[in-house]
Symmetry: C2
Subunit: 279 residues, 2 copies
């Protein structure tokens, strides 16, 4: 049996997977793209030797990245998705009937094409008429946008290194804020609370310089090292802890109970931000 | 750099760790015991090629296995700890001043001795005068006990295979119930909610045949494959979701907010038990 050894940045545990079959291997301008098949996880999308999604468990990440913010918004109409070339977040966003327009900003067109071919279910929303695809840097899209008409900006980036770093600066967050409506929200993953606690804190600190409301929720993701995945969410005034529309969409994991439970307890959040958590 | 490749049962992801130094390697009557040093996790205790604890993050597991039940009990005096030869659970139990007696039942004395030498902090409670060590099978200890005077039975077993299986039968659970006071509680880990969902459900089902109250809580453990670790808790009448004594002990992770948040939301629990969760 061939094995795939993941090369996740900053992870003190190395993950490896049995490879039943290598379905695709190619190189884009930005990264190496692989699709392998594993007996348990099904097809797996791998970018620069880091697992991005698996057929079996992609919904944990996509649902949790998308639906917390989407249910905290009273009536989201325009949504920007940056990254997430597999289309998983776009698919989840489109489940919300109020959504009229999804700007889908992906820097690497090859990821979209590979996903459409090998992950048709995940990519199923990409060609929807409500979706406008732009192959470009998400930071540039946000910087150039002059209107404040976006209800949600969702970042589904690779690990926060290399070209993804431009999405985690005070300039970028300021530009995001300028694009948002008064009720708008921003959400991004910020790596593992086990292994990247300092990065989780630093991103919160930068966001707090820009947004009045900044918070953290987590979700258990089996295929991301450290698993205890932290999401940063920010808004101009609405709390993301509150659900403003009862969930009516079909999901495998997310629901209103999970929404509330996912947020970091306030005592733990305070200790985290004071850098008093010892692990 | 030498690498240690974990051989966890049933895990579709294989974990590996850089080994700075092999500090100990021996073989007991029951298993191979290794202590290695990893730059990030510090010393790691490994039984039959499965990571049991690491210096850096052992408290997540030990605190969550111990303190949920201990804070749900009005005044725990007598506690049985089965397994957990490293002493981590015993250390946590002893933090509760009401505890007069800990029966510490470990089948493999060599694990205790290795832990005392290499993990003195974890093993710090083992020689406490309130602790009575018995080197024997936990199932036998429970079967032979004639009194119903135990407030908490805590199982800290290795993975639920091999000799640990005898701790997950209807006979054993019935005997546990007979040992408990009317307010007594039982808790055990039941592997990962990601990777061992069926086992989690089956253990709940067996427990429900014996105990009126059965529940699940979870904790994120970075070094156990699947990470999203499920704990089964059972009692004759008290709900473990309720805290009956305000936490006053010193912990790194557990607190009253974590206690409440850790329990599986009721909707998710129902879907799990109906085998409707699709992952």
């Amino acid at each position: 049996m061939i094995k795939f050894f993941e090369k996740a940045p900053y992870s003190p545990v190395e993950y490896s997977y049995d490879v039943e079959e290598i379905l695709y291997k190619g190189k884009s301008k930005y990264q190496e793209i692989k699709v392998i098949r594993n007996l348990y996880f099904g097809k797996m999308l791998i970018l620069d030797d880091v697992v991005q999604i698996t057929e079996r468990d992609e919904f944990f990440y996509h649902e949790m990245l998308t639906h917390v913010v989407m249910h905290s918004l009273p009536e989201p109409k325009k949504v920007v998705v940056i990254g997430g070339g597999d289309g998983g977040v776009v698919r989840e966003v489109l489940k919300h009937k109020s959504v009229e327009k999804v700007y889908f900003i992906e820097i690497d067109e090859m990821v979209i094409n590979v996903s459409k071919k090998y992950f048709p279910d995940v990519a199923s929303g990409i060609d929807n008429t409500r979706v406008e695809i732009k192959i470009m840097d998400g930071a540039e899209f946000i910087r150039k946008r002059k209107l404040s008409d976006i209800d949600a900006v969702i970042i589904d980036s690779t690990d926060i290194v290399g070209f993804a770093r431009s999405l985690f600066t005070i300039e970028f967050f300021t530009n995001v804020k300028n694009c948002l409506t008064d009720k708008g929200m921003f959400v991004t993953h910020t790596e593992s609370l086990h292994f990247h606690k300092d990065m989780v804190v630093e991103i919160q600190e930068v966001l707090k310089k820009v947004f009045p409301v900044v918070d953290i929720y987590t979700a258990p993701i089996a295929t991301y090292p450290g698993n205890w995945w932290a999401f940063a969410v920010a808004s101009k005034n609405l709390s993301p802890r509150e659900i403003r529309r009862k969930p009516k969409i079909k999901t495998k994991y997310y629901n209103d109970e999970i929404h509330h439970q996912a947020f970091m307890p306030k005592g733990l959040y305070e200790k985290l931000m004071q850098r008093k958590l010892q692990w």
